[in-house]
Subunit: 260 residues, 2 copies
C-alpha cells in the first residue's frame, strides 16, 4: 500500500539488518517464528525512536515451543497458520497503546469498512472450539487441536528428514529442542515450511525443484541466495506424500547417476 | 486511503461540480442512483483527461427504473444494497480496459490478499438464486426477488408519504415514473433512503429528527444544507414501523400545538 499509493508518510527502508539511519523514526516488523526459516527472532535495529511490530502468525505450539508469554507493544496474530483458515482473512492484534489501537481500527474501517461477517462468525466458532479443547490440557487424555496438529507436523518432518538423510542435493536446518510453556515439555521445532539449502553443484534450488516437479519459492524472494528454497509443509496429505516421493526420486536418480 | 497515507499519486479535489482544473487528469466518481437522494446521475466534469467511475450500488430494479443497459468504461457493483448482504463485503467491477482491470486486481491483492472465501461462497450462492429467479420473469407467475423487494419498498414509501402528507415539518422529493427495461413497465423510483427536507422554521433537520428519537444523517455529511437529512428505508420491519410512528407523533404533536 505504501509503495502503490506512493505514501507521503512512510517509505520502505529495506532489510532491518542494514538499516542505520540513526535517530530517524522507523517501524520494524519482526516475524517470529520467521517465515521462511522457522527460527525465533527479536528486533535487530538499535534505536529509541522505532516502533516494533511482532508478527506472530507462526507462534503456535504445533510449530514451535512457546518459550515465553507474548508481551510486546504491538502484536499481530491470524487464524491463517493457526488453524489453516487463511481464506477467512481474519487476524487480530494485541496493542498496548490505546492511540495506536484506535489508529489501526480506523485504518481497517477506511480500507475495508470492516471484515466479512461470515468470516467473523466462522472465526469466533473456530476459536471457541480451540479454547474449549485446550481447557483440559494435561488433565483429560483426549488430544486437543494443537496436540493433533503437532503430531501431524512431527510425522511430516520425520518423513522429510528421512527422505533427505542420504540426499546429495539438499540439507535442512537443524532446530534446537526448547521448553514449551504450552505443553510443559521440551519440544521440537516443526516449522510450517521446509527451508531447503542445496549442496554444492546446484546453484538455483528452486529451479532444481522445478525439475523434480516440486513447486517451491526461491531464496531470492526472501532476500537471500538462490541456493535456498521454501516448501510448504502444510499441503494436503496426498500432495505432501507426492512431494516426498519426488524428493526420493531425485535422491535415487542421483545415486544411479541419472541426469535430472 | 488517499488521505490517510498522504498519497503521492492522488489528491482529493472535492465536489465534482466545482472542479475546474482544465486539462488536469482527474477521476470522477458518479454514484447513480445517487446516495442520498436517489436521482439518476451522469458525469459533470467537462474534460478529456478524466476517468469516470460509475458506482452502481443502487442501480437495481427494486429501487429505480433500469433505464438503459449499463455500458460505461468502469462500473462498480456490490451485493450490499442489491440483497442486503453488506456485511459480506463483496463487490465486483466491470471494466473495459484490461490494464485498468489488472491494476484494480493488483490493488485488491496488495491491500487484502483477496476477499474472504466464506463471503465468496455465500455471494456465489446468493447470485445464483437471484439469477434462477429472474430467468422466467414475465413467464412464470411467481414473484422473483426483485419483484418481492420492489413491492416491499413500494409499501414502505406509501406509508412514508402518507405519514408526511399533512406534515408541517418535512417534505419529500418527488421522483418521475420511468420506463424500466427489467420489468418492462413504467415504474416508480423507490430509493433506499428517504431524503427529507425540513420546512421553514426548522434549521437542522437531523437535530429535529433526534428530538423525535429518529436516527438519520444530516445534510452536512453530504455537502449540502442541514435542512436536509437522510433516513434509511431498509431497516427491519418493526424499526421501520416505529420510524413511521415517531414521524406521526411529530405531525400530531405540532397539530395540537405541542412544542417538540
Amino acid at each position: 500500500m505504501i509503495e502503490i499509493l506512493r505514501s507521503g508518510l512512510y517509505k520502505w527502508a529495506g532489510d532491518a539488518y542494514t538499516f542505520n539511519e540513526d535517530g530517524q523514526p522507523y517501524i520494524e516488523v519482526v516475524n517470529s517464528p520467521n517465515n521462511p526459516d522457522g527460527t525465533h527472532r527479536e528486533a535487530v535495529v538499535n534505536g529509541g525512536k522505532g516502533k516494533v511490530i511482532y508478527d506472530f502468525a507462526y507462534y503456535w505450539p504445533q510449530y514451535t515451543a512457546i518459550t515465553s508469554a507474548a508481551d510486546h507493544d504491538i502484536m499481530l496474530f491470524t487464524l491463517s497458520k493457526c488453524t489453516g483458515h487463511a481464506g477467512s482473512r481474519i487476524g487480530w492484534a494485541l496493542v498496548k497503546d490505546k492511540d495506536i489501537a484506535e489508529k489501526m481500527t480506523e485504518y481497517i474501517a477506511i480500507s475495508s469498512i470492516g471484515v466479512s461477517k461470515e468470516s467473523q462468525v466462522r472465526a469466533a466458532k473456530v476459536i471457541g472450539v480451540l479454547c474449549d479443547g485446550c481447557e483440559n490440557v494435561g488433565v483429560v487424555e483426549s488430544e486437543n487441536f494443537f496436540e493433533f496438529s503437532r503430531n501431524l507436523m512431527a510425522k511430516r518432518w520425520q518423513k522429510l528428514r528421512e527422505a533427505l538423510k542420504h540426499s546429495e542435493c539438499f540439507t535442512l536446518f537443524k532446530y534446537p529442542r526448547e521448553h514449551c510453556l504450552f505443553t510443559g515439555e521440551f519440544t521440537k521445532t516443526l516449522p510450517a515450511y521446509a527451508w531447503l539449502k542445496c549442496k554444492e553443484g546446484i546453484e538455483d534450488c528452486n529451479e532444481f525443484l522445478s525439475g523434480l516437479k516440486i513447486v517451491g519459492r526461491g531464496g531470492k524472494a526472501f532476500g537471500v541466495d538462490p541456493i535456498f528454497a521454501r516448501i510448504s509443509m502444510l499441503s494436503k496429505e496426498d500432495e505432501f506424500n507426492q512431494f516426498i516421493e519426488r524428493l526420493l526420486v531425485a535422491t535415487r536418480g542421483l545415486a544411479m547417476g541419472i541426469n535430472l
